[in-house]
């Protein structure tokens, strides 16, 4: 299974997560978001970029509880909330945002 973009195929698993996270590009994120029915805004990018930085530092995608706490610390209580994240990513912020950001599914997210 693969995404097709600019004549390239990017392999993904049965749930749509990239097989090789190094193949991610911002352009691919746009395609993935469209598949999820999400129109990317600056607020979406803020979360995606934050997740990618978290992954870079810790080598895992955070659980939702941990993500909310970390966002609160960086951006304040308005953005560090479950409600805010669900408004941006209605089908589960950790799952959808990680997928769009090219990261693996968060551990503990079944």
């Amino acid at each position: 299974m693969a995404y097709e973009i600019n004549g390239e195929s990017i392999e993904h698993d049965e749930e749509g997560y990239l097989s090789d996270i190094n193949q991610w590009t911002p352009e691919l994120a746009g395609l993935l978001a469209k598949d999820e029915g999400i129109e990317m805004t600056d607020e979406h990018w803020e979360v995606i970029n934050f997740l990618r930085e978290y992954y870079e530092e810790y080598q895992i995608a955070p659980a939702i509880r941990v993500l909310v706490k970390a966002l609160k610390k960086k951006f304040g209580p308005e953005k560090g909330s479950n409600k805010y994240l669900y408004e941006l990513f209605p089908y589960g912020p950790a799952k959808q945002a990680c997928k769009i950001g090219g990261l693996p599914k968060p551990t503990g997210c079944i």
Binding site: E57, Y58, Q59, I60, P62, R65, V66, G92, T107, G108
Partner: protein, 130 residues
């Protein structure tokens, strides 16, 4: 697991101890154990994480796994604080036998003797070893 969680916290909290005894690479035990710990943490359990025997090498600073073509997962131990997993222990005898001290490790741990460790084990409800 649903991504929503109960604001009141979990109904049941048990004392879990995860005992790491194996070197980080060569087998998948160490990485799988870390995943188990993250899952227990997601369920807000009382997690105790022990490193002994060659398991102390999992926390060694300056790991470079390029030559064995495995992911260096030692940075993930630094994420545990964010998961509120803060009870980390290393067995004193295991560190000493390998010429290591707490300063050689990627995260702060409490160094405890074999005897103290056995007392701590006696207080747990669930113990998993790998």
């Amino acid at each position: 697991m649903e991504e929503e969680w109960d604001e009141d916290g979990p109904d049941v909290v048990k004392r879990f101890m995860y005992v790491n005894r194996k070197a980080p690479y060569g087998t998948v035990y160490a990485l799988e154990m870390l995943e188990k710990v993250l899952i227990a943490a997601a369920f807000e359990q009382d997690v105790h994480l022990v490193f002994m025997d060659d398991g102390v090498y999992q926390l060694k600073k300056g790991q470079d796994t390029k030559a064995v073509n495995m992911k260096n997962f030692s940075p993930t131990f630094r994420a545990l604080e964010g998961y509120e997993v803060e009870k980390l222990y290393a067995e004193k005898e295991s560190l000493e036998a390998r010429g290591l001290t707490a300063d050689d490790l990627v995260v702060p741990v409490e160094v405890i003797s074999s005897k103290e460790l056995s007392e701590l084990m006696a207080k747990q409800e669930v113990i998993l070893t790998a």
